[in-house]
């Protein structure tokens, strides 16, 4: 039965690796300027992890095949070099890998989080709530009106709690249920949580960031391809979590300006 197990291990290792090798489950198309770095890092890690996974399963299978079902009293052998060789191998090979990924591999993270947004980045505020996203543009004055939680009135579409009567900066703010952005322009997005924790995830943008109530966070990214992409919530936020979605609509600059104008007119 040990030999059968060895054969099963080989089959399982190869069948598990097959979809990856054949790229049966490809990452969605990358539409950001930074995404290729994440993809490359993931690709490199896949090669290393793949070799480790398949290698270990095959070695396990080989030893099982060779050393199970032997006659009782068969001569025992020791691994050449003993534990020392294996420990050194783990420290050197895995240690180098850890160093490489732990230090060099942080470049992609740094691009997303340590590079400040450009001064001319388009500022948009995103609000997450049970179970919708709303996006706010500052309007012609370039300034967002202040948020007043006590003035939130969903019935009258005052999702952000703007004080339209007294706050001049709030009056020209544009609020949309869809994230509409121009292509090839950097977006600096501020995340505001209205109620519980949520998360902003656009697969194609390679961006995921939590909304934390009480903590205003920001991310920045540059979409590079015109199209409509799904935004999903990835932080369990309550009964409608599975249905909390919005869309990212990347337009040409002309279309975007027209859209903005139309929204202002409303």
């Amino acid at each position: 039965m040990g030999k059968l197990f060895a054969v099963a291990l080989v089959i399982i290792a190869l069948v598990s690796a097959y979809p990856i090798l054949m790229n049966k489950y490809p990452l969605p198309e990358d539409i950001s300027t930074h995404g290729h770095q994440i993809d490359e890092q993931l690709h490199d890690t896949m090669i290393e992890a793949g070799i480790a996974f398949v290698g270990a399963q095959l070695v396990l299978a080989f030893f099982l095949f060779s050393y199970s079902g032997r006659k009782p009293g068969s001569r025992l052998k020791s691994f050449p070099g003993g534990a020392k060789v294996l420990v050194m191998f783990a420290f050197v090979i895995v240690g180098l890998e850890v160093l490489a990924l732990g230090v060099v591999g942080q470049k992609a993270w740094a691009t997303v989080y340590f590079t400040p947004p450009k001064a001319d980045a388009l500022e948009i505020q995103a609000q997450a709530e049970q179970f919708a996203f709303y996006f706010r543009y500052p309007g012609p004055d370039g300034k967002f009106g202040s948020i007043h939680p006590d003035k939130i009135d969903e019935g009258n579409q005052n999702y952000f709690g703007l004080d339209l009567a007294n706050d001049v900066e709030a009056r020209d703010d544009i609020v949309s249920g869809e994230l509409v952005v121009p292509v090839n322009r950097e977006i600096h997005m501020f995340l505001h949580g209205k109620d519980v924790g949520h998360s902003f995830y656009v697969r194609e943008l390679r961006i995921q960031q939590d909304f934390v109530p009480g903590l205003d966070l920001s991310v920045h990214f540059t979409p590079t391809k015109i199209g409509r992409y799904e935004i999903v919530c990835t932080q369990l936020c309550g009964l409608g979590h599975y249905n909390m979605k919005a869309y990212l609509n990347v337009m040409s600059l002309t279309d975007f300006e027209k859209w903005l104008k139309d929204q202002s007119a409303q």
């Binding site: 039965m1 040990g2 099963a8 291990l9 049966k24 489950y25 490809p26 990452l27 994440i38 890690t45 896949m46 290393e48 480790a52 270990a56 399963q57 396990l60 030893f63 050393y67 199970s68 079902g69 025992l76 052998k77 020791s78 534990a83 294996l86 420990v87 783990a90 420290f91 895995v94 240690g95 850890v98 990924l101 591999g105 942080q106 470049k107 993270w109 340590f114 939680p149 006590d150 939130i152 209205k194 109620d195 519980v196 924790g197 998360s199 995830y201 995921q208 939590d210 934390v212 009480g214 903590l215 999903v232 990835t234 369990l236 936020c237 309550g238 009964l239 979590h241 599975y242 249905n243």
Partner: protein
């Protein structure tokens, strides 16, 4: 390490009467079996919940006969609502992590075998031991109450992230009393685990038999000891976190709730708290908990492998030191669960590096197991199959951790099925493989009877192939961006992948059904199994030197003396290719 300490008189009188023998027993062996039974109830409950979730996910209109009896609101007409899916998800995770993965490999087998393996008559504090089980039972009972209250169980997941978990009924169904019962249950569980951990530590340090130096303890004893140290620190943090959560919910405090939150159209009467505080406290416990679940199985598997290989590991010490370093590092990595939580992005680097570093001791252990198999005389039985299967699962689940330890990759894979596949394989399945191996291996000692080998092997094959069929595709789904904790996939994006989800569901049903074979085998063999001699596996450690099942005081009032390290295999002993730990005979190494 010096000589082992001579055990003191911590002995209780022989148990008399049904209650003292089987219910409020002070005997560590009965308590171990009680933990095992509770874990068994919890694991089958958790498994049935996962069946219900998996079926609902791919066939959302399935009527579950009887589910309406459990919750009229959650399953009107027997059809599960989206929110009830989340309730079941929360209960599945909580039952499995706390009441199965902590109880079975650690509390159950640790209780039964740690004292015997060190030559003690019982735990250092038998009354504490009894209390820790019954406190755990109370925690389970309080959690189960959430099923029967009108509001149902909470919907915030086993991580109970604040403020969703902290604001009460406004947050949704199950978040009124259901979430309070969750907090109370886990707080009680923490107290029980702290009592248990203290007892394990005191027993290991104080009650070792003469000659039982620390380095002569079996690897599984070491694993339970290291796990106890981790548990002592981890549950000591989760306990106050749960108390603060309960205070936020019922005493009007705002530890985890900031000001200005509008939930269910109501401005919440809180201010000044931080949702991230809950995450820090929770994961300061949560990540070490992964090792609380896996280290005992690492120890158990090493112990069983050595016996099955008929030769010692290349180095037991290296395994022990690796377990220690994993335990130490486990406290430096909790932030990798929070890369995208909004904490300072610089901290991601600080948490990423030690997380990646854990790969080193994990690789060392894997290489030691593999290298030790070289030139061995591997005996195949149900126990060794599960032990060998553990190595395969440990590697499969471990390598995916390498992706998630890198913050940049986590941006894409966080909260996807890749994560679900990763932790189910390494923390769930691998750990349970250790439990299965332990059950088949020690059953003859615990009952005096063998488990049925044919059924055991059938159980292994279906479970091994089945778990790969379930959890390997989870990784592929993660790669295409399949988000977790969704009760169904209503968008076009996921539509092409529904057939794969159906395949997973069918695999889960078959693999789950195979566990009924295990249950049958367990019950059948307990009463009708083939009678086993005292040392059926020709093993060396102290548990095999006493009758099966062991008498109430383990060694019949004698004090064993230990002469050797626990793994004298492949030698010329008077009984065969092994010499027992308590045998004074000189060890003659076989000609090599």
């Amino acid at each position: 390490m010096g000589e082992g300490s001579v055990q003191q008189a911590h002995v209780h009188a022989p148990p008399e009467g049904f209650i003292r023998k089987y219910v409020f027993s002070l005997d560590h062996k009965v308590i171990g079996k009680q933990y095992f039974a509770l874990a068994l109830v919890a694991v089958f409950t958790g498994m049935i919940l996962s069946w219900l979730m998996r079926i609902h996910m791919v066939w959302p209109n399935t009527k579950f006969p009887g589910l309406e009896l459990l919750s009229k609101v959650g399953a009107p007409g027997g059809i599960m609502t989206p929110e009830y899916y989340l309730s079941l998800l929360t209960m599945h995770g909580t039952l499995m992590v706390f009441f199965v993965l902590t109880n079975a490999p650690f509390a159950a087998f640790g209780n039964y075998f740690l004292p015997i393996q060190i030559g003690a008559e019982d735990m250092a504090f038998p009354r504490f031991n009894m209390m820790s089980f019954w406190t755990t039972f109370l925690a389970w009972f309080v959690l189960m109450l959430a099923f029967v209250i009108p509001d149902g169980p909470p919907i915030a997941g086993w991580t109970e992230y604040a403020p969703l978990s902290a604001v009460g009924k406004d947050a949704g169904p199950g978040m009124a009393w259901g979430a309070s019962l969750w907090g109370l249950s886990i707080a009680i569980f923490c107290i029980a685990s702290l009592l248990g951990a203290l007892n394990f530590i005191a027993t290991t340090l104080d009650l070792r038999a003469k000659g039982m130096t620390l380095m002569r303890m079996p690897i599984c004893t070491w694993a339970w000891f290291i796990t106890s140290c981790i548990a002592l620190l981890a549950f000591a943090v989760l306990l106050p976190a749960c108390i603060l959560l309960i205070l936020d919910r019922h005493a009007g405090t705002s530890f985890f709730i900031p000001g200005g939150l509008v939930i269910s159209d109501r401005l919440q009467p809180h201010s000044g708290g931080s949702p991230l505080l809950w995450q820090h406290l929770f994961w300061f416990f949560g990540h070490p908990e992964v090792y609380i679940a896996i280290l005992p199985s690492i120890g158990i598997v090493s112990h069983i492998l050595i016996n099955s290989m008929r030769k010692p590991l290349l180095s037991s010490k290296v395994i022990i030191y690796s377990m220690m370093s994993i335990g130490f590092l486990s406290y430096m990595v909790w932030g990798h669960h929070m890369f995208l939580s909004g904490m300072n992005p610089m901290s991601a680097l600080a948490f990423s590096f030690p997380t990646l570093t854990i790969t080193i001791p994990a690789t060392v252990m894997t290489l030691i197991w593999l290298g030790s198999l070289y030139g061995a005389n591997i005996q195949i039985n149900s126990a060794s199959l599960f032990a060998l299967g553990f190595i395969s699962m440990f590697v499969a689940g471990g390598v995916s951790g390498f992706f998630l330890a890198q913050p940049a990759i986590d941006i894409y894979l966080h909260a996807t099925y890749f994560v679900v596949g990763h932790f189910h394989m390494v923390m769930g399945v691998a750990s349970l493989f250790g439990v299965f191996a332990a059950t088949y291996f020690w059953f003859p000692k615990m009952t005096g009877r063998f488990m049925n080998e044919g059924l055991g092997k059938l159980h292994f094959w279906i479970t091994f192939v089945g778990t790969y069929c379930i959890f390997m595709p989870f990784h592929y789904l993660g790669l295409i961006g399949n988000v977790r904790r969704y009760q169904s996939f209503v968008d076009d994006y996921m539509a092409p992948y529904i057939p794969l989800h159906k395949f997973i569901t069918i695999s889960a049903l078959i693999t789950g059904a195979a566990q009924l074979i295990f249950l049958y085998n367990l019950i059948y063999s307990r009463f009708k199994g083939k009678l086993a001699p005292d040392n059926p596996w020709n093993a060396t450690s102290l548990e095999w030197s006493i009758p099966s099942p062991p008498p109430w005081n383990n060694f019949g009032g004698k004090h064993p003396v230990v002469y050797h390290d626990p793994y004298q295999y492949g030698v010329k002993g008077s009984k065969g290719d092994f010499v027992m730990q308590d045998s004074p005979e000189q060890v003659i190494v076989s000609g090599d």
